[in-house]
C-alpha cells in the first residue's frame, strides 16, 4: 500500500473514467431519439396546456424521444420577446409556437416544412386561406398552422337583445345545423349598421373596440375585406388614392362607430369581453372565450349568446382569423423529430383533442376539420358555438387584416393599427375622409420604404 502514491491513484482513476466515457454508447435521456425542446404558447384555457402535455408525453413515449415542453405566455408579449431573443442568439428551443406574423418575420431562420404540409394536405385537404398567406411567404411553408391558440373572431350575439331591439331573430338566421336560415342573406353590413343603431338607442350598444389591439384591427380588417378595400396590394403598391371600395368601407365603418360606446377608442382586447359579460352589449366580435367566462360569471348572459358568422359585404363574407404556427428553428439539433412530432400533432385525432381540451376555442387549419362534435355539444344554450368554425354554408373565407399586402409590410400596418386609426382620425379627430386617407397613404409610404 505504501507503494501507491496519490498521483498514481489519480492518474489511474482518470484513465478508467476516460476509457469508460469513450467506450460508452451515446445514451439519450429517454430513448434513442434524443431530446426535443418545445416552447408552446401558454393557453388561455388552463386545460389546453394539460392536453398539450399529454400529447407531448404520448408521442415521446411512442418514439423514444425526450420531449421537454415549456409554456411561454403571450402576456406582456413574452412570447415575442422570447422568439426575438432566440433568433438573435441562435439558440433555444427546437420548435416553438409563433404568433400570426412571426413565421414571416423569421422565415430565414425557420426550417422549411413543405414536406410536412404536403403530407397533411394530402390527408386533410386545403388549408384555410389566411393560414396559407401567413405561413407560406415567398411560396414555401416556413411553419405549420397550429391548432392550439388559433382563433376566429365571429359575432357573439345576445339573441334576446337583438330580437327585442333590432327585430332580428339571429338563431333562425344562423341555426345550429349545417344550413343557413332563410334570412341569412340579409346578414350584411347594412343590416348590421341598422341593428347597431337600434341597440345603441336601447342602451345596449355593440361592443366593438376601435383601438390598436388585435380585436379592433381584426374586425375592421374583415369589414374592409368584405368591401374589397385594401390599403396595399400583394405587390406592395399602395392602393389608397381613388379607391372607391376603400372609401365605401371607411364610410360604413365610420357610420357603425358612431353607434358604439364612447370609450371604445381606449379599449384593449378585454374591453369587448367585459362589455358582453356585464350585459351592457348586444354583440361583440370574439372567440367563444368571452362567452365561456360569461358561463362562469354571468350565466344569465351566456344563456342568451349565439355565435354567428360576420356580416357580408359587396365582395363577400370574411372571418377574422388570428392563428398560431408551429415552427422549427434552423439551428435545431433535432429537426427530423420536430417535423415528425408536429405532423402527428396536426393529425385529426390530435387536433380534435386539442380543440376539445380548449372547450372549442382552438380552430384547426384544415377546413375539413370544421365538424368536430365539441361545437355542436357545447352550451348552454346547446349549439351556441356551432357556427364558430367556418362552415361551408357560411360562404365565408378566413382573412387577416392588411392582407394581401406582402407580409413584411402587412405586419407593420397591422401592429400599428392603421385601419382603426384611419377611422379614429375621422370620428374622434374630426378629420375629413380625404385628410385621413392622405395620412394613411403617407404612413404606408414610410412603411414601404426599406420594407
Amino acid at each position: 500500500m505504501s507503494g501507491l502514491k496519490r498521483r498514481d491513484l489519480l492518474l489511474a482513476g482518470a484513465g478508467v473514467a476516460a476509457a469508460g466515457t469513450l467506450s460508452a454508447p451515446m445514451v439519450h435521456a429517454q430513448g434513442t431519439g434524443g431530446t426535443l425542446r418545445c416552447g408552446f404558447w401558454d393557453h388561455w384555457v388552463p386545460n389546453g396546456n394539460v392536453v398539450m402535455r399529454e400529447l407531448c408525453a404520448e408521442w415521446g413515449r411512442a418514439n423514444r424521444v425526450d420531449v421537454q415542453m415549456d409554456t411561454v405566455t403571450s402576456n406582456g408579449n413574452q412570447i415575442l420577446l422570447t422568439i426575438n431573443a432566440q433568433a438573435q442568439s441562435r439558440t433555444g428551443y427546437d420548435l416553438m409556437s409563433f404568433p400570426a406574423w412571426e413565421p414571416s418575420n423569421h422565415q430565414r431562420m425557420l426550417e422549411p416544412v413543405d414536406d410536412v404540409m404536403r403530407n397533411l394536405t394530402q390527408k386533410y385537404g386545403a388549408v384555410t386561406p389566411a393560414a396559407e398567406y401567413l405561413g407560406k411567404p415567398g411560396g414555401n411553408w416556413v411553419a405549420i398552422p397550429a391548432v392550439a391558440g388559433t382563433q376566429l373572431k365571429p359575432a357573439c350575439v345576445r339573441f334576446d337583445l337583438m330580437q327585442q331591439h333590432a327585430g332580428i331573430d339571429i338563431r333562425a338566421m344562423w341555426p345550429a345545423q349545417n344550413a343557413a336560415g332563410p334570412t341569412a342573406g340579409q346578414w350584411n353590413w347594412e343590416t348590421f349598421a341598422k341593428a347597431a343603431e337600434a341597440c345603441h338607442k336601447a342602451g345596449f350598444a355593440f361592443g366593438l373596440p376601435m383601438g390598436s389591439f388585435t380585436d379592433a384591427v381584426d374586425w375592421v380588417g374583415a369589414l374592409f375585406a368584405s368591401y374589397g378595400a385594401f390599403l396595399m396590394d400583394d405587390k406592395g403598391a399602395i392602393t389608397v388614392r381613388n379607391n372607391a371600395k376603400l372609401r365605401a368601407a371607411v364610410e360604413m365603418c365610420v357610420r357603425i362607430s358612431r353607434f358604439l360606446p364612447n370609450d371604445v377608442w381606449a379599449w384593449d382586447d378585454g374591453g369587448n369581453n367585459r362589455a358582453l359579460i356585464s350585459g351592457r352589449s348586444a354583440l361583440v366580435f370574439n372567440p367563444p372565450s368571452a362567452w365561456a367566462v360569461a358561463k362562469r360569471d354571468a350565466p344569465q348572459v351566456a344563456e342568451n349568446c349565439w355565435t354567428v358568422p360576420m356580416p357580408a359585404g359587396p365582395e363577400g363574407r370574411f372571418a377574422p382569423y388570428l392563428p398560431y404556427f408551429w415552427g422549427i428553428w434552423n439551428f435545431s439539433r433535432n429537426k427530423g423529430a420536430a417535423k415528425a412530432f408536429l405532423e402527428w400533432l396536426s393529425d385529426r385525432a390530435q387536433a380534435e383533442r386539442q380543440t376539445n381540451g380548449s372547450g372549442g376555442y382552438d380552430i384547426p387549419p384544415f377546413t375539413s376539420m370544421s365538424d368536430f362534435k365539441v361545437w355542436e355539444t357545447e352550451g348552454p344554450p346547446v349549439g351556441s358555438v356551432y357556427n364558430y368554425p367556418v362552415r361551408a354554408h357560411h360562404n365565408s373565407r378566413t382573412s387577416i387584416a392588411m392582407a394581401p399586402a406582402p407580409a413584411a409590410m402587412a405586419v407593420q400596418m397591422y401592429n400599428q393599427g392603421l385601419n382603426t386609426k384611419l377611422i379614429a382620425r375621422i370620428v374622434q379627430g374630426g378629420e375629413s375622409v380625404d385628410q385621413a386617407l392622405g395620412w394613411v397613404e403617407r404612413e404606408l409610404n414610410t412603411i414601404r420604404r426599406g420594407g
Partner: protein, 320 residues
Amino acid sequence: MAADASMAPPMTPAPGSGRASTLQRLARRRSTIAVLMTTPLLVVLLGLVAYPAGYGIYLSTLNRRMTGFMEAEWLPTGLGNFEILFESETFWAVALQSCIFAITAVILKALIGFWLAHMLNDIPTKGQRKWRGMLLIPWVIPPALSTLGWWWMFDPSYSSINWLFQVVGIAEVPWLGEKWWARLSIIIVNVWYGAPFFMIMYLAALKSVPEQLYEAAAIDGASSWQRLRYVTLPMMANIISITVLFSLIVTFSNYDIVRVLTNGGPRDLTHVFASYAFQVGILSGNIPRGAAVSLFMFPILAICAFFVLRGVTRRNKEQM
C-alpha cells in the same frame, strides 16, 4: 506623490529571483492595484452599457431583414431608418408627446417633491419617520403593478374614479379615450410614482443646509420667501439639478406606464419613444427601425445632461 508611483508597503523579495521581484514590484504598484480593482466594474460597464449601446447603434443602420445597411435618399447609407423617421408624422407626434410627458411630469414631480420635503422637514423627528415611510410607498411598488391599479381606476368602462364622480354628480371623464385626458392620466401616474424620489432627495438636501444660515437670515429680517429664495434654493441647487437630470432620463425612457395604460392610444397620441420603439421593433418585426426610434432619446438627453452638469460644475467652482 503621484498615485501610480506610490507603492504598497515593501515586502521581502524572494532570494535570487529577479523575475519574481519585478512581478512583485508591478503588483505592488498602486496603479496596477487600481486597474485590477476597477476591472470588474469596467467589464460590467463594457458588457452591459457599451456593448448594448454599440449594438443598438449598429442595428439602427441595418435594413429590416438585417442583411445589409439601410439605404437612404438624402442621408448617407446606413442612416435610412433615421431619414424615414424624420419624414414620418407619427414619429414627430411621438417626439412631441415624449417631450410633453417628460417635461411636465418632471416639473410636477420636482414641485410636489419640494413641497413634501419641506412639509416633512417641519415635522418633529419622532413623527417624521412614519410619514417618510408612507410617502415612499408609491416609489417602492413596482411600476408595472401600480400602473395596473391605476388602469383599473381609469378603466374606460368601469372607472372607479368615474363612479365616485357619478356619486357626487360630476360628469364622467374619458380618462384614456381622449387625447388630453389620456396624456394627463399618464402624467398623473408618473408623478404619483416619481414624486417620492424627489421628496427624499430634497429632504436629504434640506437637512444638510446649516441652521446658522437661517438664523443669520432671520436676524437680517428675511421673510420666509426670502429665506427660501436666497438660502434654501442656492444651497439645494446642485441636488435639484442632478435629481431633475436623473428623473428626466428615467421619465424619457419610461415604457411600462404608457404600455399598460394606453398602449400609445388614442391615435398614437400618448406614445413615448420607448413604447413606440417596442411597437415598431418587436411587435412589427422591424428591429432596426425600432432601434433608430429609441436612439433618438440619446441626443436629447445628452444635451440636457451637458447643460445640467455644466451648471453643477460652475456652481462647485464658485463655491470653492
